[in-house]
Symmetry: D3
Subunit: 238 residues, 6 copies
């Protein structure tokens, strides 16, 4: 029995609330169990210097955590004067994941900045961020269509993410904080609606893991993201 | 008629939701109209170096705004590597306001850090932060009582804040963003339950204001905070 | 009897020395008792990005303290790599106060940067900075007139500041460092020559203050600034 | 035919030069084709604060690139005042990879800091860093044994890394810079001598990759690291 | 004829005002022509970590320039968030120069921090800083003697500095800003009362200089510092 | 007998390896005994803002040390977030020394950035940097000639540097680390092929030095650089 009492292949309770941020062109509040991330998509009609004049767009992401999203208060990164390595790693991952399913040529010279801010943390915040960010991005693109800034939605596919781990020898889906801290190994999978792998990041905390375990985790992730894709479609009305 | 359609002495719709942050010792989500601030109080059993060994506690505050809390996206302070002057000014104000009603001797060697994070901004975020922070602080102290860390709640009084302004020659209560940007002058008042003035910060954006106007604004603030004090008492069950 | 031995409504000895900085377009060394602040105004023929092309000017301020301006040496902010919250709060206040009496349209696309550097600190440095800065700014504008860069002086009025406080229940004018650290409450008032209130910043360090005390402090400030306005006029030859 | 002319399963020419840094307790200059990384291991008789008094050691890593290691000069991170997200991501990966094969209890209270500095970059610098760092770490631990600071070498196994990618539909081993920039997907594998997976980081730059491709890349990585493990053993005289 | 009209071996008008900073243990305002530097010496009863427990003291220096000390306003280093290379170079030079004539064993575990802040700049600020700093340091040590913190003054000798340069082929003493910017070469000499060379920093801006020129500049510096030593002795009452 | 066993006028074994960095337009690995510095010259077709439109070029330098170039590991400046005062002083010196022998008008609007990175440190790294950097710069200019970017090499002369010191009363050439840390005084001389002095930086660590000693050190430096100039010519094929 895993600590959460869930079955090995069960996701936590998931909810995706579109439009949770009043001012953003697109937004989504995602809850995975206790974990809660507010994702917003902000549209700006220009691109970073390295892309200027190339007739294409850009999608980028920033990630943050409220100081008391966690069990004990963490430093406020703005007060400390720099983002941690972990924060930078996560925001780079979110950005890459969304760009993998976006037709940036179809965007024209426009930047969408995704902000993922963790209101409550209980494990899996980077995966929840990606899943929620896709909804925010989709809604922002739809907003641009309604404003006649875009003629079609540049998203080519869905993208969602989930973490899996090996807990006492058993592969399990969607680790919460208590499980994550005791797992032997864990892996985050970012998958597309069509079944492709966009990112896989596996890390053995204790014993290294085997090829068979990696495949088992991938299988769990595929079934978990199937449910997440359905929730994303509901949230954006597809 | 003021832009919001409210009468000159009317507050926006106010709600104070205690316990909005799962992990914090005390917390409150305050809404003043569209403005929404999550206030948490985190307790730590030590004091800053300048107070060590003096047998008293400390209350301090940090303030932040999600990048897309505003109409157009603002820079993330953590990414820019420093907090703006405005942010620092506000968090110093919140800290001073709470310390003014706290018996720091009664706390023992303990620090409470208040985090006020603006989820949605529509004017008056610093005042809403103070009003909500008092609730979070009260609840954190009650938590310490239940844990037998404190024998009594060190809060001596309530504290709440509201902004007032002169709009087309008329003093009005509780400016929203649209009103604030057009007001001739505005003033933030931090008042205690007993009626004392803890802080007053008045700034003439356009024409300087007169003594009579300052007094009129103070009168409005006193009636506005009376309502806020009632809401705070409800929120903490007093 | 207040610590300084002064009567409740007495300013410290004031002197304003125009032209104290050889290279600046305008400058003033202000002394309020022991407190000594060198104020310079530097003119540059362009405006910050947010104002470009709008045909108006800008006045901004920076504030600093020599490390040994104080009784014990403070950190050099340049060595520490950032300005404190207090410094930023003060320089924002100085800038706002001067802009409140400047016709920025009449400046054309020009920026005046005011530097207020405290050579000796004994309380009241932010107020002295504002009072001295007005002289420096006036002289810089006059310099621009002589150079035919401006046809008239864009200052619409004088502005000066003074701090007041409640000392053992008595409202007193122009706190020095020893008085400031023992006062129950203190307030800084920035007033115009015409009698308007540009800024009021009142803070209760100990017991909150009452409406009557606030008014009494404002009355003292008004009489104190009357004297400061006279000194400013002398300094600039009006 | 891949750009480098190598067969799909061929590594670049590899050389590992132990003792390349005169002052370090352990060091190794690794060359993978043109890529050249100097790895040093520095021993210090204390641990970071979060581990004090727990009787265990720590292994950590830092990574850097000489400004002109690359085809066009990059900014010097020390001059810019911060390490990029990429640098932080890589140095965290190197540290985790080495800790996965180190018995930190057997180290006692000692920290080994690995520095991986890229002298010439031509793709695969993070993987080369890990492979070379293991040699430097092994030599540093042997140095401690000779100095009677350790009674046995705390390394439990070897660890090495290699990048693989999908190039025009074909899985290929050990991408150089030209191949990496054109690959559809690439994955870095960190494997142990015993065959376990310590880290896998796969990223689809263009089209997402399939399960079969992931497995094919893993297979290539396993054969590539077999050769790297042999070279490591030669370099340390096992 | 040199630009300043002075003869080749003439110093500018020099004045050294001891006690110019009210709060510091020792201070001196030095004027060399238009150049004006306020030097303070602050005593603290502890030493930096690398000297703890060695029974000796430390003398260190910091240097700054008011933003409008110069003809056109320079950036405020505190606002920019770092000290320039030039500033760091100068403050290191001042510190080394003073330590060269201080018996640090005789100080006990005490640090004296010298602050040299340029109020007006017209060339030669680093040299003036050293000459003035010696007076401030001497006075601070005398203060410690009066307080019975020291039994004797730890200064072993005087130290003073002057810049010389080659102007249109002629070696000249004590360059002002206009001369400095046109000189072919200039050199700063830090000399002791006993005639020893503590520091020499010569730089050819245009044509390199010859051995003969270097010697000629050294000769001028020796005569110039003779006058400065006399002024220092007057200032401290020796 | 000096610690190194060398005669007073003997350089350490010197080698200059041109082309040591594969990607740079010009490069040189210089070894002076154990000290080892990699110097690269990177050409960019534009100039810094302060030179734009003046039809001349610029030569600038950056300096760094690998963390374990030294006997005990030093902090990585990129991780600490700033360059030390020493680093900045050295890179400014390298830049000035090279500019002194470069005809910047002959460069056109082009910048050459010299990077000097110390791989192994054993004293004299700033001097070795200058000597090696000249070779890298020469080769980069020759590269530009071959590419028809320049019609002639803008270097007017050679420049090389060596440190000398007074060791137990005897002037000696080319201090290594052990000698440097025990010398009474040391001086770095930057000389041109034609015999001119570009920079002299003498510092008395212990007793001040005399005019005679300064001249003796200069004489040693002249004979030492004669050998270095020969090696530079060999390295660039002159």
């Amino acid at each position: 029995m895993r600590p959460s009492g869930r079955e090995s292949g069960a996701l936590r309770a998931v909810s995706l609330t579109p439009g949770a941020a009043r001012h953003a062109e697109g937004s989504c509040l995602i809850r995975m169990g206790v974990t809660e991330v507010l994702c917003t998509a902000s549209v700006e009609g220009k691109v970073p210097p390295f892309l200027r004049g190339q007739g294409q767009g850009w999608v980028t992401a920033e990630y943050g955590m409220l100081p008391r999203a966690t069990h004990t208060r963490g430093d406020r990164e703005a007060a400390r004067g720099k983002q941690s390595g972990r924060t930078q790693e996560i925001q780079r991952l979110i950005g890459r994941s969304l760009r993998a399913v976006t037709d940036m040529k179809a965007m024209g010279e426009m930047t969408v900045t995704i902000d993922c801010d963790v209101l409550t943390a209980d494990g899996g915040t980077r995966c929840a961020s990606i899943t929620g960010a896709w909804v925010a991005l989709h809604l922002a693109f739809e907003h641009c269509r309604r404003m006649n800034i875009l003629t079609r939605n540049p998203l080519r596919d869905q993208v969602a993410a989930v973490s899996c781990g090996v807990w006492q020898g058993t592969p399990v889906l969607d680790l919460d904080y208590a499980e994550d801290s005791k797992a032997d190994a864990d892996a985050n999978f970012v998958l597309t609606g069509a079944g492709g792998i966009v990112e896989v990041q596996g890390t053995a905390e204790g014993a290294p893991f085997t090829d068979a375990e990696l495949l088992a985790l991938l299988g769990l992730a595929r079934s978990g993201t199937a449910e997440l894709f359905a929730r994303q479609r509901e949230a954006v009305g597809l």
